[in-house]
Amino acid sequence: MWVYEKKLQFPVQIEHPDPSFAKIVITQIGGPDGELSASMRYLNQRYAMPYDRVKAMLTDIGTEELAHLEMVSAIVYQLTRNLSVDEIKKAGFDAYYVDHTTGIWPQAASGAPFTSTYFQSKGDPITDLMEDMAADGAALYDQH
């Protein structure tokens, strides 16, 4: 089971709202290489893992990804606080706002909703680990 800790893994303190930036950052919540996808990837793949060391690793990393999800959600939440109608329109945040107002909803930057097709769970440890490397290694390092 899990127990919630009422603190972020790392502080999030946004001084100035920026809905344009929020539109991009939200992909790290619900996009193909986002934290939700990462967490679900590891936590679902662990059942097929035969080795204790890696069972522990998948469990703990899958859990830590949830803490990352919370930080990115806090970032989007704070980036979209106290916006005026003008600020929403000018930033092009109106397309998101019309469906969710400033609620946090897992989607990619393109607006595509989060889907479990963003990760794999094949019941085969080697196949799953290859997918982990593609998702959490190469993809993110290439982009940054």
Partner: protein
């Protein structure tokens, strides 16, 4: 308001977490285990200090006569 006690706790917990991940794949590494134990001790101390000031961090550590867990800042709100 910058919360030094929280920052300390976040630092120790991050170190503790990373040490734990390393130990998952290197369970016999004595140096790592010793580092883990040190961080465990620092984290425990920082946690007690933080909870004394801001109330329980989990719904299992509400040790007072009233229900304090719901009060105080929620993590995503920042300082505003």
């Amino acid at each position: 308001m910058h919360d030094d006690v929280l920052t300390q706790l976040q630092m120790y917990d991050f170190a503790l977490q990373e040490a734990a991940l390393f130990l998952n794949s290197h369970p016999h590494d004595k140096e790592a285990l010793s580092y883990y134990r040190t961080m465990q001790c620092c984290s425990k101390q920082a946690r007690e200090e933080y909870e004394a000031l801001h109330g329980p961090l989990t719904n299992r550590e509400n040790n007072s006569c009233s229900w304090e867990y719901i009060h105080g800042k929620w993590p995503w709100e920042g300082d505003k």
